[in-house]
Amino acid sequence: MPVVRIEYSDVEELIGIDIKTFLDRLPMIGADIERIEEDYVDVEFFPNRPDMYSVEGVARAMRGFLDIETGLPKYDVKPPLIEIVKDESILNIRPYIVCGVVRGVEFTDSSIRSLMELQEDLHWAIGRDRKKVSIGVHDLSRIKPPFKYTTVPANFEFIPLDFDEPMSIERILKEHPKGVKYGHILEDFDRYPIIIDANGEALSFPPIINGVITRVTEESKELFIDVTGTDKSVHTALNIMVTSLAERGATLEAVRVAEVSGDVMITPNLSAKKKRIKLDEVNSLIGLKLGVKEVVKALERMRYGVEVEKEIVVHIPPYRADIMHSWDIIEDVAIGYGYENVPCELPNVFTVGEAHPISIAKKRVREIMTGMGFLEVMPFSLTCEKIHYEYMRRKSNGRETKVLHPLTQEHTMICTDLMPSLLHILSLNKHREMPQRIFCVGDVLIDEKTIPHLAFLSCHAEANFTEAKSYVITLFREIDTEFSVDEGTDPAFIEGRQAVIIVDEKEVGRFGEIHPEVLSNFSLDHPALGFEMELMI
């Protein structure tokens, strides 16, 4: 999740409050403080509030939360002077574009960095790593409107950011770091999105890279912002970008976007959407008895505009990306009211506790096994073919579950037996005192079904079949189950020193002396006996 660095000088300038109060109250609006340093604090904000991914956005929210400036923030947007025209060819590739102009910007080194960070965080949170939405910020003084949003073939050339020679689109996708990273978004196309100015200069090759010509520096005073994408969330991203800059005192100016249909859209659109909520619903979800006034106060603290009619009409700030349901607003009522002011209460409902039969069985078996002197272990169920089959001298019967795209060679499948993992644990404990007796009650996957198993191992100089048999007899006496044995043919055990366990004419488990080759594979040099069965027989 994005981490925003907030410098204390900004807290004083943009909020006008002391640092202690700020740090005290900040978590209660919904934030995780990562690190408190001498002159700044790093704060993690949640993915539902991308409007707080900038210092200006945090300041705006906190001014409301601390009753310094409440209600809907007002932003003036001057009428458009600049136009961008959409070409039909873009509609199948990256159809959405919205733009804005910001004038009178005062940049410093750190405020440019903060703007770039906001841009990157929005790419992650709203843009799904630029796939859905990507943002370009340009120095307006270097380019000549009107602009055109169109497509070009792969041999189209311009100088991208971070390079000083013209490159073709094809080369950018192969050689430019951003091209390599984000090129997959465009891999199905043979024409590529481009924004060009009246002189044919490339501003941007969305969602990959800007042209070097519009690079933003400390001297930049006027910005042109484009947001392209595949759905309407381009609006939210643009609104967050421009309102964040307006918080620093810049002037906003709209852009005419000429659609292919001939319609014209004026962006950014900073009008507030309205949503109605009911007082009853607020109180029943939070569990309080708030009056209208209290709800209005809490909402205004959270920077909503409110009109009270029969219901409460809430004006949603244009930078909020997360309000899709009335409960989203009610949560903000609870936050504005203060989570610390919501009481803790247990409802008076009678229910009976009930343990799951598998847990009961596992618990009983644990009692038996520990009674016989075994230590419980809880290995991973992820394993690999090498340990599960090769080391065990066993062959796959195709009933195991393999994971797609394993992260490591050690975790490619889920075990169908627990014993390989137990042997693996012994191999890690070779230097520890013998005898070593361990057991596990855990789940395995056979034919993609979860099946609880019990397995145990006893490893020491005198471990043999007779010892195994006596544990098996004891175990079955304790679970009150009759069983018989039959000769086994499991290659993991020594021939003639192994048995299968039969209950009600069904094979439920097996035990025996572990084959010396298996022991060597796990680099064990003491004999061992092993046992494994289905738990729920």
Binding site: P27, M28, I29, G30, D32, F46, P47, R49, W124, S284, I286, G287, L288, M324, H325, S326, W327, D328, I330, E331, A334, I335, Y339, P343, C344, E345, L346, P347, V349, T351, V352, G353, E354, A355, H356, K363, G371, G373, L375, E376, V377, M378, F380, S381, L382, T401, K402, V403, L404, H405, H411, I425, L428, N429, R432, P435, Q436, D443, K449, T450
Partner: protein, 489 residues
């Protein structure tokens, strides 16, 4: 003091004086075996009552071959005498025929070396063979007189015989014991009487204990700890949490490790393009599950085709929802249970293993245990969620708790509980919230659902003082043996 002496120790002490005595001599006097005498002597030494001294002795003895030569004579002697009885000039080839290639060769070599014979044109010419010092030493050793003294007198011969493999040296230890001042003082007080060291069935049956004394134990001496079977410390913690839920009237539920994306994500209103659903975070499988009845309701909500939410927009893919995954959270189990049991009240919990495609390090493992509780009922609200959380965490031992707004894709409102831990401050522990209406309504759940969950390994780290989660799954057996069942905090 005398009470802690064993009968053997008493016997040995009684036979000691201030001057050194050989162990064999003491053994003879006490009637004990040499081993028992030595053991008792060392025990007395430990107690400061006697002094045991070891002296090393070197002893020479004949090898098996040496014994044979001592009886029959050295090969060169036997050869010389046999030949001399025939002629004083014999072809070498004939000697080797008589004595064999090897022994004949040895004999000829030594006869030449000792000046008993010389070789000319393939013929051995015999001279005279006086008895040598080596043969004298051989005889001494044969008579068992191979002490250190012999080395000083016949060093060259001994060394030569050793090189020939006829003689070997052996080191032996001799033990001498004397009583200390304290030992003598105690020795004078001891009355030799038989004590009971180990109570036996015989002693009980015969009632011997009535007139015999029990030997006292040194209660401070070390004893080995017993090796016992134990439940894994982590499992014990899991059991503790199960008990808390059961005692609060919750029903335990379980489910399959493999879940469709539908139950793991879609039913929980996670958008299909959500980053958590991508390959890099989730273990996908090469198989699919059928979608449940009423899945279209979920589809509609995602696409925003209902009146109560905007949804995520776009097109919701059935194929995508069918893809199987290793469950990434226990919520896949609880939501399915709620969908199948929509009648209130429901109080259920699930503690089980979940899977995340994450690189392993000290705080991340690809599988771990998660705990989750849900309460569904009429009129439930945020204050009741706070009530349950406070009660639940208090029973876990966290008395101070506070609630912070949080964010989870399937709850609204969402809460991050924090508990106060001495020395660490406020620690975030788990997450909670009320299931979104976008989650409950499409599945036919008509009442609010309170839910909370946490990764138990976080608690394990706090409670067991672990610095590395991998230890839970790949344990050091010594840790399992030594970690107390009841750890006092």
């Amino acid at each position: 003091m005398e009470d802690v002496l064993s009968p053997n120790e008493k016997k040995v002490l009684k036979s000691l004086s201030s001057s050194e005595k050989r162990i064999e001599e003491i053994a003879k006097e006490t009637g004990l075996s040499k081993e028992a005498t030595l053991q008792a002597s060392y025990m007395l030494d430990d107690k400061g009552l006697a002094k045991v001294k070891e002296r090393k002795r070197i002893f020479f003895r004949l090898t098996k071959e040496g014994e044979e030569y001592a009886r029959k004579g050295l090969p060169e002697r036997r050869c010389f005498e046999l030949l001399y009885s025939k002629s004083n000039k014999i072809p070498i080839s004939q000697i080797k025929e008589l004595f064999g290639e090897k022994e004949g060769g040895i004999a000829i070599g030594w006869m030449k070396k000792k000046g008993w014979a010389r070789v000319e044109d393939g013929m051995l010419i015999l001279l005279s063979a006086p008895c040598g010092e080596d043969e004298f030493v051989l005889e001494l050793l044969h008579n068992g007189q191979g002490n250190e003294e012999i080395l000083h007198r016949f060093r060259d011969s001994i060394e030569e015989l050793m090189r020939r493999g006829i003689v070997v040296s052996e080191e032996t230890k001799e033990f001498y014991v004397s009583a200390t001042k304290e030992g003598i003082a105690l020795s004078n007080k001891i009355e030799l009487e038989e004590e009971i060291s180990q109570l036996t069935p015989d002693i009980i049956r015969r009632g011997e204990w009535e007139y015999k004394r029990f030997r006292r134990y040194d209660i401070r001496s070390h004893a080995k700890s017993a090796s016992i079977g134990k439940i894994h410390p982590y499992q014990r913690l899991i059991e503790e949490m199960r008990e808390i839920f059961l005692s609060m009237g919750f029903k335990e539920i379980k489910g399959e490790i493999i879940q469709s994306s539908f139950w793991n994500f879609d039913a929980l209103f996670q958008p299909q393009d959500h980053p958590a659903r991508e390959m890099q975070d989730t273990f996908y499988l090469d198989s699919m599950s059928e979608l449940p009845n009423r899945y279209e309701n979920v589809k509609e909500v995602h696409e925003g085709k209902v009146d109560y939410t905007e949804g995520w927009g776009g097109v919701w893919s059935e194929e995508f929802a069918k893809r199987n995954v290793l469950r990434t959270h226990t919520t896949a189990i609880t939501i399915r249970y709620l969908a199948e049991n929509p009648e209130p009240p429901v109080k259920a919990f699930c503690i089980d293993r979940v899977y995340r495609r994450e690189a392993i390090d000290s705080t991340h493992t690809p599988e771990f245990e998660q705990l989750e509780g849900v309460v569904m009922g009429e009129g439930l609200s945020l204050k009741h969620l706070f009530g349950y959380l406070k009660e639940f965490y208090a029973r876990m031992g966290f008395k101070d708790i506070r609630f912070r707004p949080g964010y989870f894709p399937y709850t609204e409102p969402s809460v991050e509980p924090e508990v106060f831990i001495e020395g660490l401050g406020w620690i975030e522990l788990g997450g909670a919230g009320i299931f979104r209406e976008e989650v409950t309504k499409p599945l036919g759940i008509k009442y609010p659902v309170l839910a909370w969950g946490l990764g138990i390994s976080r608690v394990a780290m706090l409670r067991l003082g672990l610095d590395d989660l991998r230890k839970l799954y790949h344990p050091d057996i010594e840790w399992l043996r030594s970690e107390p069942i009841w750890r006092r905090i």
